[in-house]
Symmetry: C2
Subunit: 298 residues, 2 copies
């Protein structure tokens, strides 16, 4: 590709840029963002070649546009580029939710919606900003694409191919499937971890409680160290699916509560044992895949 424009040159957008440069897959990367300091830092780090503060200039002649800014900005960014979007440009995003992004893209891009291929790279670090960007963030990681019925297969393939050149493995889900899956295995766990730490922190003897919290608690609550603004946005963006998962979980807790109140040892053990077994099988599958990935990379 000749030109790629990236809106948001932090961990996600910056790592995408570094990987594509390393792969020799792009001639020029344009960085766009709200904070000049971040863009200058990204240029200094060799993440982007050109700083651009105008959406019109950024997308003119671009083969690919990646929106990697906070999801709350997606619609405004898409609206700002729509008038300048030429037919040969494909736009994708990296947002953690998809049905809301598709709705925003439909409003913002209107007749040009076919040029938008929704995406979600499943990778991260506990750091943010251009300095957090690393060349191998996506190696062996999943990128979920949720193509629209309007998308031309070649456009979807252009996005898929860019991610593959970053070392990622492409998966496809509908945006509804995507949001249900991530409500279950990511958004709900974040909400539960935040809820527990907040619950403890508000108790009058919170300092005593934290004093005795150990490594199990530390792992259990690690995700409650994530950005509150980002997870507030994700929770609300995926409101319907998250409410559904939360209700299922609250019903599960009510059931466990009844077992505990009744002193039903066998029922409690059957829940705990089923969970332990399922997690064990899951971890074994991941570890086997990781091993295979490493061997394949040799």
């Amino acid at each position: 590709m000749k030109k790629i424009a990236i809106f948001g040159v932090g961990l996600i957008g910056g790592s995408f840029a570094l990987a594509l440069k390393k792969a020799g897959a792009v001639e020029q990367i344009i960085g766009v963002g709200r904070t000049i300091a971040s863009l200058e830092r990204a240029k200094e780090l060799g993440i982007i070649d050109v700083i651009c503060t105008s959406s019109a200039d950024a997308v003119r002649g671009a083969d690919l546009v990646l929106i990697a800014a906070p999801v709350a900005q997606t619609e405004a960014i898409l609206a700002s580029i729509e008038p300048h979007l030429q037919p040969e440009t494909v736009v994708t995003d990296a947002g953690s939710t998809k049905t809301d992004v598709v709705a925003a893209a439909c409003r913002a891009l209107r007749e040009k919606i076919a040029q938008f291929v929704p995406g979600h790279p499943i990778a991260g670090r506990e750091l943010n900003g251009p300095d957090a960007a690393i060349v191998d963030l996506y190696v062996g990681k999943k990128v979920v694409l949720a193509p629209l019925p309007e998308n031309a297969p070649a456009d979807v393939e252009r996005v898929a191919n860019a991610w593959r050149q970053c070392g990622a493995i492409i998966h496809r889900l509908t945006s509804q499937e995507h949001d249900r899956v991530f409500a279950s295995v990511s958004h709900l766990p974040h909400l539960l971890a935040y809820a527990l730490v907040d619950d403890i922190a508000r108790k009058p003897h919170a300092d005593v409680l934290f004093q005795y919290a150990a490594s199990g608690f530390r792992d259990f609550t690690r995700i409650a160290g994530s950005s509150p603004e980002m997870w507030r946005d994700i929770s609300l963006a995926n409101q319907a699916a998250l409410l559904q998962e939360l209700d299922a979980y609250m019903a599960q807790l009510a059931q466990l509560r009844a077992m505990l109140a009744a002193g039903d040892a066998a029922a409690i053990e059957s829940i705990y044992a089923n969970a332990q077994q399922a997690r064990h099988n899951w971890v074994r599958t991941i570890e086997a895949a990781e091993k295979q990935g490493k061997q394949g990379g040799d």
Copy 2:
């Protein structure tokens, strides 16, 4: 000390033995247990000096007896040693709950209850059995003692001193305080993690869900990899305090659910941000303590 008897020579009892031997704090360690193979392995590993299958022989002339077997066995073990318990012997335990152990000890030891000093070392590994025992398991870790009004100060000090010689830091709580604290920061998180994994595993599309679960989910559910039998026993042993914490958490979830359903971004963010801040402060305190501990140990 001349003689220590340890009931249960796995991770907890075995590491206690190894640390005391290294400190030169004991002449002879007697191992007692239900499985001869474990006792033989413990002897092979140099954890214990003598295998004993009779409670009478084990406790005769012992300065200290540690019960480190599964908590469900505590009462039976105490009952078996009671007739042979001489006034100079102090008995302690390593159970994760305390009010139920105290009740069991009162029933089993009767007039000899003053010789029992309840304890709980806050240390662990994801491994079990004699082979999991390591000499430095307790270095810098907390051991909570929950002395009874009946205990002689010198007897409490004998137990405290043994743990100190393992490198542990002694804390004191009443057994009620202990059980409330650990219901909150340990027992409830385990129940929540088991509940989530079980909930997901029972969904018809569980395989798809697990496929997209990532490192955040892995950390969040790590404690659901723990022994179901052990955590069933702990949950039931600490039933009252755990129900109280579970109810508080369910009320917290109901509140968050209402905020989410109402799309109340500010309220959701205030919960998430308070949790993130509290966790951040807690982790900073731990890390400072760890650093200090390491410096002190140099």
